[in-house]
Assembly symmetry: C2
Amino acid sequence: MQRTVFFISDGTAITAETLGHSLLTQFRDITFRQVRIPFVGDADKANAAVKRINQAGEEDGAPPIVFNSIVDGHISAIIKSSNAVFLDVFTTFLDRMAEALGVAPQASVGRAHGVANLERYEQRMEATSYALSHDDGVSTTYEHCELILVGVSRSGKTPTCLYMALNFGVKAGNYPLTQNDLEDQKLPAFLRQHRAKIVGLSIDADRLAQIRETRRPGSNYASLKQTHWEVDAAESLLRASGVPVFNTTHSSIEEIASRILAELGLQREMF
Amino acid sequence: MQRTVFFISDGTAITAETLGHSLLTQFRDITFRQVRIPFVGDADKANAAVKRINQAGEEDGAPPIVFNSIVDGHISAIIKSSNAVFLDVFTTFLDRMAEALGVAPQASVGRAHGVANLERYEQRMEATSYALSHDDGVSTTYEHCELILVGVSRSGKTPTCLYMALNFGVKAGNYPLTQNDLEDQKLPAFLRQHRAKIVGLSIDADRLAQIRETRRPGSNYASLKQTHWEVDAAESLLRASGVPVFNTTHSSIEEIASRILAELGLQREMF
């Protein structure tokens, strides 16, 4: 059985889609066709969306589910007139919040994922640029760094740094442990002085071999012998250095980032 | 007046925070202190969270607002017992969805932002790696590219590419127009063959000068004369090449990404 799900918004639709996805993961036996319709800012666009919703319902033989986050009541009402299960992401909570806060909401469109606060937005762009210039040991000057991920090649450092920079505005660098570091069982001096900012990433050797195999098939770099040696050496080095270590094998970058920020007490707002 | 807002989850809390942020933007006159408590997976952690909630309420002299996305009913009930405005991000919609779909939800924890689907997760990591290797014209082999952002230096290409790779698994490269390209008023040959994948980014010359000034203060690169010339030349080149052009001056990378995906018809699920 297929059901169509719409994420409809006057902005990017990111809020509607994020919430919708989370809810859909709770119904694993159903195949969902997912359609995002962003920037529905007027009645014409809303009417066009209603057409698509109703058509999908006819094709499926069952009403689509609509996650709506349009702020404007009139445009929202047009969407609501479709033959669908209409879930209003905003108004459902807005009334209770207004009551609790004792003020009326402002009904401003598209603020959630626009440049609502230029200073914070620039901080985020700067952090992204910082993460790129401090990726993979390119620069090892970590004075302005807020955290440094350390681990063997392909343990998940780069995407985690980029994710934290883009989504939390955290200036994160990362350093890949070299054969020398692993043999010496010591962090290089330029890292030791920043120990409080360092977080180790580890990964199961089997999984690491798999990941490396897709990049350099048949290489020593991707061999189980090499990955087992590297992972063991890295874990003992990191633990001896007294830094926290997270295993990334079964975790997404969102989960790793969330755990790291909690561990370091970086209570940074998500963008 | 300050009010404290909690985002509480048995997973990353990303869903609760994304929805919460969107709603908070509708109350601009209130200062919100925002606290994320992820991975609340047992009663002990829930009780610790309740303590923090109640303490914040005493400090503020008003009940905190709690966005809860804990799936487990027992643990959730502990959070609900706090002295707060309790907004349940999940169960509010789950019942209506279950009714509409005719099946019961599965109450699986932490699936929303975990590695629920390994294949899709790997696609996303691969796209991120691709974006890095095709950033800023480093590689100009675009065979496996899904889209190519083209524009002058600092028009927003890199963060937009990274954002689309990380969050949508889109393989995006980007190419900075050179002085030569601008003078010739032609896209280089290695780009022309991929015209259907190209999207131009533009930006107001004044804003561009501002951004460049923070990177190279006092340089010709950051001068208004140079940015005006570059932006004008780039816009005429891009339009003559028949590619869509988006102005990034007042848009966030989320908004640009959302518009580009819609323009190219890349109906890709968000991760």
